[in-house]
């Protein structure tokens, strides 16, 4: 049996599921639109009797269509709540390369994708420790002193730990960002009050650095420059609204504090 062709309708369905699942995994973990489209099309085109594979990816959903024995198949998946996870992107990328040029069966492929989805990379504690460290270093980069460094570390450690808990409730990104910024500036102003930190603005900017959608706005512009204007627009809109939510969160505290 040749693994490089599709033999019956059952396999068509599996191929569709495989392509859509790997696309969803990529998009959910923060891959660029063109990478998702490219990966799905490559997976479909690697089987010889599949023609006209086409995909269309936005920030919130994926469409995929291809032809098999003069019949066209279409599928579509809605994607919510994306977060960046580079390890999973790297794994799916590896898998799609292997799938295209070696004899991995469709069932095996579906298994690998669901395994990738379940990868446990770092624990929440590690995430909090390293996220807080980078926040503290950003405070130094923006011109804070050593006391601000420690204030920022402690503030953002608490914020990331609390955010890890609230993430379970699946609030929207707007509420998440508002809450994070609110807590960060609350802890920052407390640290000033008890005499640990000295520059309020430096501590706050450092501590909200992992919330601020700087990477998102850059990716939005990259997508737009690549020609994926719809994905770029939706990413950009989300980034602007996140920044607004963060500003509201900080402003609530500043208005009370000053």
């Amino acid at each position: 049996m040749n693994h490089f062709t599709i033999n019956n309708n059952d396999e068509v369905k599996k191929l569709m599921a495989l392509a859509i699942n790997s696309g969803e995994t990529l998009l959910r973990n923060g891959a660029e639109a063109y990478r998702v489209e490219d990966t799905m099309e490559r997976i479909c085109n690697s089987r010889e009797n599949i023609f006209n594979a086409n995909s269309f990816v936005t920030q919130t959903g994926i469409f995929l269509t291809f032809e098999y024995e003069n019949q066209s198949y279409v599928n579509f998946k809605r994607v919510r709540d994306t977060a960046i996870n580079l390890e999973k992107i790297s794994e799916v990328n590896d898998f799609s390369r292997k799938f295209v040029c070696t004899k991995i069966s469709l069932d095996e492929g579906l298994n690998i994708i669901s395994k990738i989805n379940k990868i446990k990379t770092h624990t929440k504690l590690e995430k909090a420790i390293f996220g807080a460290a980078s926040a503290a270093f950003f405070t130094l980069m923006f011109g804070g002193n050593l006391r601000d460094f420690f204030a920022s570390y402690i503030a953002s450690y608490f914020v990331i730990s609390i955010m890890n808990i609230t993430n379970e409730f699946k609030l929207t990104f707007f509420i998440d960002n508002f809450l994070g910024a609110f807590l960060a500036s609350l802890f920052a102003s407390i640290s000033i009050k008890i005499g640990l930190g000295t520059n309020l603005d430096k501590i706050i900017i450092g501590s909200i650095m992992y919330l601020v959608p700087g990477v998102a706005i850059t990716n939005a512009i990259r997508d737009t420059m690549n020609g994926d204007s719809l994905s770029g627009l939706s990413k950009g809109m989300e980034a602007i609204l996140s920044a607004l939510a963060i500003a509201f969160g900080v402003w609530v505290i500043l208005a009370i504090y000053i």
């Binding site: 580079l86 992107i89 980078s134 980069m141 650095m209 706005i217």
Partner: protein
Amino acid sequence: MRVGFQLLYQLVLGFFATIGFAVYFYAPIDSVLATGLAGGLSWVLYYIVLNITNDKIIGTFLGAFLVGILGEFLAIKMKKPATVFITPGIVSLVPGAGMYYTMLHLVQKDYTQAAITGSETLFIAAAIAMGIIVSTIFSKSLRFIKNKHS
């Protein structure tokens, strides 16, 4: 001597900030140190250019270009997609503070200041995107020339 010390200090800051973000973004663990070095170097380049020309946008562009080149190089060396290195690498250049200040000026009803910081932020983000795209094209054409000759 003092300049050298200052640059080393900035390199260390950029290195650790990038590593923190790489872990926060769940980067594969064997790529983290290399990413940190790329991020630190690009932050130092940005810092030098900013101090010479006093222009954030050209500094950001050059920094992002360096991240892109190093990312493509590491991608071939370590057999991982270039995004794994580029996404945490650009974090130190990314205009997070600018975006925050823009929105803060807006909620404080300081619209002129919001327009100034907002447009600067947008240009910085565009400069990063340009830097990465140019570096991708650059490395692609290098590969093309190499393949032609061998």
